[in-house]
C-alpha cells in the first residue's frame, strides 16, 4: 500500500446505495477538493429496489446534494409519509392499530406525557390512544392529509415528514444529478475480477473499461457483496435467531382510479406469519408480504397476500425475494466500505434500509479527507458505530414482534421466546416496567431511534408500566396544557392542510418554492 491522501473512490453498484453514497460524498467533497469519484454499475444486474420508504433524514440528504424537492417529487413517483400505522399487531383484531408518527410527543423531552397518559387511560375506558393524545400527526394521517401547504418552502414542513418513493426511478434520478451536477464519473460495465493484495483492494477488472484502481472502494453491489463479502471474505452474520423474517413477496398494485387517495403513511398489517407493507406512491401502491419461511410456505403466504390486496387484483404476479436477515461481521475492511444490501439487510418494518445507507455514506463523508495510513483507524471507528446502529435497529424491530399478543401461529409465539430476545432489549424492558423510556436510556451520539419512538411502540402496543410513583400532581397543569395544545394543533391543521394527492398534484403543476 502506498502512503498519501485518499484521492479516488470507486463505488461498485448503481442502485440507491451506490448513487446515494456517490451523491453524499460528491456534495461534500466535490469539485475542487481533488477527490475523484467513479461509480461502475452493471448493465445486466438489476437493482432489488424494494426500499421505498425513507426517514425524515432523506430531506436533508437531498437538500445537501443540491436537489430540488419539486424535481424529486416529479421524477421519483414520490409521496409524503407521516410515519407508520401498525394494524393488527397487538390482538390481531380488525380494530387493532397504533401509529408511530415522526414527531415527538408534545412537550418532549422537557415534559414526559407518558405517565400522565397512562394514569388517565387506567381510569378512563374511552381514553385516546397514546399517539393520538400526545401528537397531532395521527389525526392528519387518519384524514389522509399532507404534512405541508403549497406555500411551505421546499424541505420545510408543518409536520415532520419522510417520503415514499419508487426505488428504481430514485436511483436513475440520483444518477442524473450525480453525473450532471456533481461531477461523478459513471461507467456502465461488468466487474469481472477483484484484484487485491492481502486485505487491500488494488483494482476492479472490468469487461470494457479495463482496470479501475482507487484508494478507497465502496461495495454497493447488493446481496452479492462482491468486494467485502466475496473478495475480502468478511463473513455474513445471520440474525434470524432474533428476527425470523427471511422472505418477501412484492407486488405493485394500481389505484382504483387516478384520483384515488394516496395514503400519507406506511401501513404495516400483521399477518399470520409476518406482516404486509403497503406504501402509497403517486401512481401505484407497493405492497408486499414479508414472512418467515421457517413458519410457513410461499404458497400459503401468497394466499394471505392475495386476500389482503383483494379479488380485483388476482392477476398480479408477485416477485419473490430471499432476504437473508443479518449483516456482515464488519462493514469496513482494508480500503473497502460496504453500503446497502452488501452490508446487510433487515425486514423493512421501520424503513431502515435507506437511512442506513444515508448514515453510512454520511459517516464515511465526515471521515474525509483521509490518508491511506489512517484507514485502519477509520475502519475501526466506522465498524463500531455501524455495528451499534445495526444492534439498535434489531432491538427496535424485535420490540414490535415480542410485544404482540397474537397466538394464531408459532411465528408470534416463538417471537416471545426469551431466548430470541437480545440482552440489551431485555434490560431496557426491565427498566421500562417502572418508568417510561427517556433520553438517559440512549446515550450514544449515534442512536437510531429516540426514546419517543420506543414510547410510541410500547404504549401503542399496550405495554403497561407502574405509574404509582409517577405523574406528580405538581406537573398536572403543565401536562393538561400540553394535551390541550395537541388538540389545538389537531383542530388547526386538519382544517388547513390539503390531502396528500391534492398537494402532490399542485407540486406537479406549480412546484414548491425554495424559500
Amino acid at each position: 500500500m502506498q502512503a498519501g491522501p485518499v484521492r479516488s473512490i470507486c463505488i461498485v453498484g448503481g442502485g440507491t446505495a451506490g448513487w446515494l453514497t456517490a451523491g453524499i460524498l460528491a456534495a461534500r467533497h466535490g469539485a475542487g477538493s481533488g477527490l475523484q469519484i467513479t461509480l461502475v454499475e452493471s448493465e445486466t444486474i438489476g437493482i432489488v429496489g424494494v426500499g421505498e420508504g425513507t426517514w425524515p433524514t432523506m430531506r436533508s440528504t437531498l437538500k445537501k446534494m443540491g436537489i430540488s424537492e419539486t424535481e424529486f417529487f416529479r421524477e421519483c413517483n414520490a409521496s409524503f409519509k407521516h410515519g407508520a400505522k401498525f394494524a393488527r399487531w397487538v390482538s390481531g383484531r380488525e380494530s387493532d392499530f397504533y401509529y408511530h408518527p415522526l414527531m415527538l410527543p408534545e412537550g418532549f423531552p422537557s415534559l414526559d406525557l407518558a405517565p400522565h397518559w397512562m394514569k388517565y387511560s387506567e381510569a378512563h375506558r374511552d381514553a385516546p390512544s397514546f399517539s393520538n393524545a400526545v401528537c397531532f400527526q395521527e389525526a392528519l394521517c387518519e384524514s389522509g392529509l399532507a404534512p405541508k401547504l403549497i406555500t411551505t418552502p421546499e424541505y420545510a414542513g408543518v409536520a415532520n415528514y419522510a417520503y415514499h418513493l419508487d426505488a428504481g426511478r430514485f436511483a436513475a434520478f440520483l444518477r442524473d444529478h450525480c453525473v450532471g451536477k456533481l461531477g461523478v464519473r459513471h461507467l456502465v460495465d461488468e466487474v469481472t475480477e477483484v484484484i487485491k493484495s492481502g486485505d487491500h483492494l488494488d483494482a476492479v477488472q472490468t469487461a470494457k473499461s479495463g482496470r479501475l484502481g482507487a484508494d478507497l472502494f465502496v461495495d454497493a453491489s447488493g446481496f452479492r457483496s462482491l468486494l467485502l463479502g466475496a473478495a475480502l471474505d468478511v463473513p455474513f452474520v445471520d440474525r434470524s435467531d432474533v428476527l425470523f423474517i427471511d422472505r418477501a413477496l412484492a407486488m405493485q398494485v394500481p389505484y382504483e382510479d387516478p384520483q384515488s387517495p394516496i395514503t400519507p403513511y406506511t401501513v404495516s398489517t400483521a399477518q399470520k406469519h409476518g406482516w404486509i407493507w403497503d406504501i402509497g406512491l403517486q401512481s401505484r401502491r407497493g405492497v408486499g408480504y414479508v414472512f418467515s419461511s421457517r413458519h410457513t410456505t410461499t404458497d400459503a403466504a401468497l394466499t394471505e397476500l392475495r386476500a389482503y390486496v383483494g379479488e380485483r387484483h388476482r392477476d398480479l404476479q408477485p416477485r419473490e425475494i430471499k432476504i437473508p436477515c443479518g449483516h456482515r461481521q464488519t462493514y469496513w475492511k482494508g480500503n473497502c466500505v460496504a453500503v446497502g444490501l452488501s452490508a446487510g439487510f433487515l425486514e423493512p418494518l421501520e424503513s431502515s434500509a435507506l437511512v442506513l445507507i444515508e448514515l453510512s455514506a454520511e459517516l464515511l463523508s465526515t471521515m474525509l479527507p483521509a490518508t491511506r495510513e489512517t484507514l485502519t483507524i477509520l475502519a475501526k471507528r466506522f465498524n463500531q458505530v455501524t455495528q451499534y446502529r445495526w444492534e439498535r435497529i434489531i432491538d427496535f424491530l424485535k420490540l414490535h414482534c415480542l410485544l404482540s399478543r397474537r397466538t394464531d401461529s408459532n411465528f408470534w409465539i416463538d417471537n416471545r421466546d426469551p431466548a430470541s430476545i437480545p440482552e440489551s432489549l431485555k434490560e431496557q424492558l426491565a427498566l421500562w416496567r417502572h418508568r417510561a423510556p427517556g433520553d438517559a436510556d440512549f446515550t450514544s451520539n449515534c442512536e437510531m431511534f429516540p426514546a419517543a419512538s420506543y414510547q410510541y411502540v410500547l404504549f401503542g402496543m399496550g405495554f403497561r408500566m407502574d405509574t404509582r410513583q409517577q405523574a406528580p400532581e405538581r406537573q398536572l397543569g403543565e401536562a393538561q396544557r400540553a394535551f390541550a395544545q395537541n388538540e389545538a394543533l389537531k383542530a388547526r391543521w386538519t382544517r388547513t392542510l390539503p390531502t396528500n394527492r391534492e398537494l402532490l398534484g399542485k407540486i406537479k403543476e406549480h412546484g414548491l418554492q425554495k424559500i
Partner: protein, 241 residues
Amino acid sequence: MRLVELSRSEHSGVRIRADRAEATAATQHLIPIVVSEFRKAAIQYPIVFAKHPDTGRFAPYVLSGLGVEENLFWSGTELDVTYVPLNVRRQPFYVGTGDAGAASVLCIDLDSPCLDASGTQRIVAADGSDSAYLKEMLAILSELVAGRVATEQFVTTVLRLDLLAPITLDIVLDDRTPLQIHGLYQLDEEKFRQLDAGELAKLWTRGYLDLLYALMISSGQIFRLIRLKNQRIALTRAWHA
C-alpha cells in the same frame, strides 16, 4: 362579487361612483401590482412578494398595512396616497375569460359599491360611443393584462437568481406589541450585490435593473407604515383616555 360580461346596451344606464373605487381597498393590506407600476409604487409603499395560497407562486404586492385586512392609508373616505395601484383604480371592472375560453372579455362586478344611482360616470357617452371614463378603465385593464405576463417573467428571473428572502423585522410598536410579519418576502440585497457583471448586464438589457432598484428603495417605506401604525395606536389611546 358577481361578475357579468359588460354590455354597452344592457348596462348603458348603470351609474358609477368612481370615488368609491378606493373604498374597495379599505380593508386590503396587500394589493397586487404589475412591474410597470414599480417605480410609482416605490415612492409610497414597500413592494413585497407573497405566495398565492392556492399555487404557492410568488407575485408582487404593495404593502398597505401591518395586519391582516388593515390599510393604514385609508382615511375613512379615501386613500391618502400619491399613487393608487391599477388594481384599485380598475374597480368595478375585470377581465374574464369568456365561455369559449380563448378570448378575454370585459366584465363588471354588479356587487361593487361603485355601482350607485348617485354616480356621475357612465360607460357610454350621449352618442352611444364608449365614454371617456370607460376608455380610461380599458387602458388600465390593458396595462394590467400586459403587465401580468411581464411580471411573471420578472418573478421567474428573480427566483432563478435566488434574489428573494423572507422579511424579518425586529420592531416593537408603541403599545409594546412586537411587530410580526409572516409570509412576506423582499429583495435580498446581499445576494443582489453578489451578482456578476454578466448577469447584471442581462438584467440591464431586460430593464430589470430599474425594477430591482425600485424594490430596494421601496423597502424603506416600511417605516412609513410603522409611523402610521403608531399614530393609530396613539389615536386609539386618546379615544379611550
